[in-house]
Amino acid sequence: MWVEKYRPANPNTMIGNEETRLNFIKWLKNWSRKSRPALLLGPPGVGKTTLVHATAKNLGFEVLELNASDVRTKSKLEERLGPLRLHTTLFEEKLLIFLDEVDGIYGRQDRGGIEFLQDLIKSSRIPVVMVANVEDDKKIVKLAKSSQVFRFQRVPPKLLEMVIKSILGREGLTLDQGTLEMIVRDANGDVRAAVNSAQVAASGTGEIVSEIRDTQITLVEALKIFFDSSSSREAYLALSSCKAQPRDKIRAIFQSIMSSGVEGEKLVKVLGELSKADELVAEIGRTQNYRLLRYFDQILANSVFNALQGADVRYGEESLPWNLQLRIWNERRQLGYISSSLAKPHHVSSRDAALIYLPYIALLSRSKNYEVKVRNKLRLDESTVKVLRKEVQRISREVAKG
């Protein structure tokens, strides 16, 4: 993605909000224990997060980041940040606590996150930087009172055009002036949206879309619109208007496709795209690079929409007969039980037990004596043993295939 490839690593190469940027750089440069924490407020896509990372890097700070995808209740915040309230690091390296999207922190009514944060602000011996999109929220008003506020505004159209032209030049691509102006106008001061749209337009794989969506619809509504869409733009708008979890979107699309009778190469192609999207979600979870989730809807919409061209798919919940679904669910549950039983004595995670240990245990269980040992050791009931035997057959087939 261009937005990641061309994300400025230096605050001097960013665009827009010049005075605010300058003030923030000065704040971090001159930070002392008497300084108030920084609260960066402004609409999405104007460079708040990028400015924090780029400035920290430029001034030699290590960033300890907690973003909206982390659980930020009092206990979780205390666990991660508590030790830093009173101590710096062993080697006196410069650290900065960065809380992105603080609008998502829980307040007093639920889990005390905001109260902990206010306490942290008072006692922290290292710089604390917070970022929020909204400022009329009660929680943010509270934080703003005890912070130095840096307000961001949307980026003017001419600067958006300038940055797009610069990226296109580096990519060796061009866009006609009309398209360029349309992208700039549609982005409404959001650099991220402008760059994403420019990439889509320049690659010719889809239509230009704006990332700013205010309406929220349910997953069912979103998928009905998604499958009725006549363009990838409409498909994207439908997906991005629904706040369901990425995996739920993938699962629901999968079920609809399976229940619509898509066959042959088209099915292979679309399932391939879905599995790529699933791998992306897994990668994001593994690397905790939750920032990439911002592009998930666009990737999913473009790839699945293009793969489904010409197929008549309708929203549907049941992809397989219920008895088959029940069997799959039940077997997965039983294999999960075996894996977690194996995990404990071997001091590994259930996932590792399932991936590494279970196939060997299953192969060894081809011997009746060993099966009895496993059965007794893991206290497996008859139905779970049946599932284990099926697993033995499946693995044996795979081994025979080589």
């Binding site: 005075e19 940027r21 505004q153 003017p156 159209p157 001419k158 300038m162 610069s166 001061g189």
Partner: protein, 115 residues
């Protein structure tokens, strides 16, 4: 009335209530010797609305060119309609500075300011 964002300006008497709203609610900076100044903290939409209603005249918000510092003439700009009359940006680029190297010059100007 024209307001150039970032520059000091004077305005006719608007009354205590409007003055308070301009300074407290809209975040317009006031200094006895210099007058008023719109900063990044200022809500320009509110400033324009308050002044239009108090002065019964149109308020035009202008931006300074980040590169040369001159006020940007918006009438000639292709994006004039997209910005609207109450531009909520901190600065822009004037027509004269829109050269091929504008991107590099813009970054150099900012680097100069950082020092």
């Amino acid at each position: 009335m024209k307001i150039v964002v970032g520059e000091w300006f004077w305005m006719p008497q608007v009354g205590g209530d409007v003055f308070k709203k301009l300074v407290k609610d809209a975040g317009l900076k006031y200094d006895k010797s210099n007058g008023f100044q719109a900063t990044p903290e200022t809500d320009m939409r509110l400033v324009a609305a308050l002044l239009q209603s108090a002065l019964k005249e149109d308020v035009e918000v202008m931006l300074k060119c980040f590169i040369c510092g001159a006020p940007v003439e918006c009438e000639e700009c292709r994006y004039n309609d997209a910005c609207g009359s109450t531009k909520t940006f901190q600065s822009c680029i004037c027509k004269d500075c829109e050269t091929k190297e504008v991107s590099a010059i813009y970054s150099m100007r900012f680097t100069e300011l950082v020092g």
